[in-house]
Symmetry: C2
Subunit: 597 residues, 2 copies
């Protein structure tokens, strides 16, 4: 029997009961997707994960990729994985039939990614990087470039990457120094360095296709001078692949997420690195943001995947392990009770369950908006886009931050065994820690949320979100067991609104720097309210279904209500402290200076 | 230049300005310790750490101990380390001159341990395990056993351990099954298994001396039937060391803290494992608690050490690294600013500084009580003992839990570099995670605090602590810049008192199980108030000294006041949420059952 790494019943609850993904077939683009097809898609993803990903979870961590002879060797199974992803059509699944895709709803693509990531996070990143890179080419590159690159990428023969970060420019993209020199024959000559490039080089594919940010010689300073290029590791000349002067200078050794290499690349050491401009010059960052926004929500989802696997590992352990006695029955003549009987263990299981299931719901909500943005029209489309844009920094960062705490709780439940490598709990803890960092740190996303997204279009997205949340409150008031929680969320919304108004005044009176000083706390508050919203949504569905539930479903639905209660008792109340701090304006972090540390 | 791994100025501030360790020489036992001698002791510890520990920090993590030929091989440097510890007299330092010790105050022993742990945690544990085990023998064993074991342990030739945990009895010591069969010639024959034994076997010493819990054949069930034995790996026969039938069955591979092995031991496979009873039969647990209490405070200190090294690593990085621009000055023509200029980075540095310096002060406060318990008399001695007993679970667990968050902040500041193994930040993160687990999990300590310590002797210890904290509030009111914080701590004390009263009622009305359900939250609340107390103490000293400080000292003292302010703005207010939850009594974690997960 394979270990349980996600809760299939919860996933289906979110997809079919909460968000009703099956109703997407009212749109022509998804007309072929009835519930049965959707169930088959989920089953297919699980089968792939069970067979090709899960068995190599721990082995890929222990036998990490090595840098040798100027290239990176990954675990041999990676090649099989990529083959399975390509053959299953997963790399191109969300794209149109006409382009070889399956017109899969994003919600189902998310579901598959969630399953893959929970089975083996490192193994799951390869196809999604390729798919995202191919999508940039699809949307912005010339037909010639599309024809040249996309088929091999969809076939899993060529790996896609996003190549942004440089040694002296991590979070600060305006400072990248990679240069593109125009040539008279159309291509550019690229010169520079990139670091931390995920899947930036490896031997499981024939070629690597970097979607790379660089500055055309003489371009304006800052982000307005950034262009997007396709820079392959090898380029085709006379029908065969030749070196394109992209050198792999090294590999970074990471704490976790070891199965997927991150590379240090040097372009143009021989002045012979060709780059192909995507779209117009100087518009690279706006193109790249399409891939980054997808990738950001994807990171949030990966964080949930890992937390999900950790939760299941600790839950199984807590059910099987006998340990100690309850405070009320300490008689040593009695046998030891199950670990899961202890209140503190149940609290830590609830903490994980609330985080995993709540953040999965939020991410699926985002996928739902992504679907509507693609297939709906008019106001429905526009609304979905506004909400998705607003929620992106939250959906990236909140699950990432909480994933670290959630995997930590899994270790704690397992005690000494949790800290040792016989179980994967410690691996999950190490892997989870990457998510608050890559694709923009939590601090960067907090600035994006409070410095930009909340105010965009006269705060229309923000107002819409409050409306959505308010509608959920109204629905919840109809259920006696949810009344108290409905009131709590109502108050939380009021607090979020008031805090935001206070901050808008601070912006006017004191300027952006003061207003943004505690942006990370604002993001945490925003995230907590968002998850509370999702839990109340789930509570409404559970309460509804409980009215005529079969006995077999009752435990599951009651479990939802208990977990909702946990979130509203232990997590939601923390926003008051955050709100107080956000409204304080004592400018502590402005005033303290380097010399005081 | 060696990397900075702790703040020597802060350590001296706590020792000499805050707690006035130099005044311990009013006691005869410490009459030889004037300030100069004390400074020399600290310098000697740092010299040892610089030379013998720090250079092997990362190498010992990468070349972890291996199990081969039935034994454990550690990094060759471990032998040199133990030799340096023994030659420096550190293993026996706190014991009387008459026994070969130096009558070192515990506060200075803590200072040394703090320095050693910050330089190389894995390397630092060997001598302290030996010292603690030797102390058990000193206090409870016969003179013959003392003569047989202690000299070789103090000389660093023999390693001491504490051997408690068994495969089926982790946190639940009453369920250990290792048996001791009496023989007619005095020794016992030991049979059983122990797991997770730190330094339980290694090749840097000639012998291992286990202080082991076992049950004498026919002993009563539960903790009342536990006895303490010395069980050496090798026993002396006819002047030479022979196998004592203690088999090393394996090594556990851990996430961090890799330099120190933890072993799986099997005793008596050949029915030839001799154990020597320490003290009286069936009193083993009460003896062991002496070592455990020392070890527990020691774990808290180790947690601070690691967090301290992580803080210094990230602080150095933040000072050196240039990255981005401030929200108020985004002009890309300006050079990038220092990472440390960003408010969010300063917040994360403050988080670490507040935790590291605040918890170090609390642990030194505990060491101060340990000193008074040893050398003072009458009421002063008794008071110190009560306070130390009460604070032990807090001093163990709060720094351990916060150490995980603090090392995480260090990684976050360093971004992608923090996640990679070029810097030790990720190692600190992995190492920190052991502390909430070993020597009793946080949950166990929470039960100890709320289930026992708070109520012991009609809550005399608790009342004394509130008095101490109240006295600090009074002192702080005298300083205009501390008035607001004094008021905050006063309110916090009131809240802690009220919450405790509410819980005592709950105990009477609903029983221990309900009262203890959220014990871990109570411990967090208690810990937060304790650190707030320490920060206000430090604030008083800083404010005093600022009145006539030299220019060179001003930054340091102002830094203290800023950090105090941070703690009172970001950390202390969280106790309200905890208190609310503790007083709620909805019995969520009682009601939810296994089937709901």
């Amino acid at each position: 029997m394979t270990a349980k790494y996600f809760d299939a019943q919860h996933l289906r609850f979110v997809l079919f009961d909460l968000l009703k993904v099956q109703e997407l077939n009212r749109f022509q683009y998804h007309a072929d997707y009835d519930r049965e097809t959707m169930e088959m898609t989920i089953d297919a993803a699980q089968q792939l994960a069970d067979k090709h990903l899960l068995p190599w979870l721990m082995e890929m961590d222990k036998q990490e990729p090595v840098y040798q002879e100027g290239g990176i060797k990954v675990h041999p199974q990676v090649k099989e994985m990529i083959k399975a992803f390509a053959e299953g059509g997963w790399i191109s699944a969300v794209y149109p039939y006409a382009e070889g895709g399956q017109q899969l709803p994003y919600m189902l693509s998310f579901a598959a990614s969630y399953i893959f990531g929970a089975a083996n996070y490192s193994g799951s990143v390869f196809p999604y990087l390729t798919s995202g890179a191919a999508n940039l080419i699809r949307n912005f590159a010339s037909q010639a470039l599309k024809d040249q690159f996309i088929p091999n990428m969809f076939a899993g023969k060529w790996q896609g990457t996003m190549a942004l970060t440089e040694p002296e420019a991590g979070s600060s993209l305006s400072d990248i120094t990679t240069i593109a020199y125009p040539t008279e024959v159309g291509h550019y000559l690229i010169k520079g360095q990139k670091i931390f490039i995920s899947a930036g080089d490896h031997d499981a594919v024939e070629n690597i296709v970097h979607l790379m940010l660089a500055k055309i010689e003489g371009a304006p300073k800052g982000t307005k001078g950034i262009s997007l290029f396709i820079v392959p590791k090898k380029r085709e000349e006379n029908g065969s692949l030749k070196s394109n002067d992209v050198t792999t200078a090294g590999i970074f050794h990471k704490m976790g997420y070891k199965g997927a290499p991150i590379a240090h690349l040097i372009m143009g050491e021989q002045d012979n690195c060709h780059g192909y401009l995507v779209g117009e010059p100087h518009k690279g960052l706006s193109y790249m943001f399409q891939m980054m926004n997808e990738a950001r929500v994807g990171v949030g989802l990966n964080a949930v995947s890992i937390a999900s696997a950790a939760y299941q590992t600790s839950l199984t352990y807590a059910k099987e392990r006998k340990q100690g006695r309850l405070p009320s029955r300490k008689d040593v003549n009695l046998p030891q009770v199950g670990l899961i009987q202890h209140a503190d263990i149940k609290r830590m299981l609830l903490q994980q369950k609330a985080m995993v299931e709540g953040t999965l719901a939020l991410l699926m909500q985002c996928a739902y908006f992504a679907d509507l943005e693609r297939v709906a029209e008019g106001e429905e489309k526009e609304k979905a886009k506004l909400l998705l844009d607003l929620l992106t920094p939250v959906a990236k960062s909140y699950p990432s931050e909480k994933g670290c705490l959630s995997t930590s709780a899994a270790i704690q439940i397992m005690g000494g065994y949790g800290y040792c490598s016989d179980f994967p709990a410690e691996q999950f803890y190490r892997e989870a820690r990457i998510h608050p960092i890559h694709e923009g740190t939590t601090g960067i996303h907090a600035l994006d949320l409070l410095g930009r997204k909340v105010w965009l279009h006269e705060s229309r997205g923000f107002k819409l979100l409050l409306q959505e949340m308010g509608a959920c409150v109204e629905k919840a008031y109809a259920y006696v067991q949810l009344k108290e929680h409905a009131k709590q969320l109502q108050e939380a919304l009021q607090l979020l609104r008031n805090t935001t108004v206070t901050l808008s005044k601070l912006l006017k009176e004191e300027g952006a720097e003061v207003m943004l000083a505690d942006a990370t706390l604002y993001l945490e508050m925003f995230g907590t309210v968002s998850i509370a919203w999702q839990w109340l949504n789930m509570g409404v569905v559970a309460a509804q279904k409980l009215e005529q539930a079969k006995a077999s479903e009752k435990d599951f639905l009651e479990g939802k209500l208990y977990t909702l209660h946990y979130f509203y008792q232990y997590e939601l109340p923390t926003i008051k402290t955050l709100a107080n701090r956000l409204c304080e304006n004592d400018q502590l972090t402005m005033q303290i200076e380097e010399r005081h540390f």
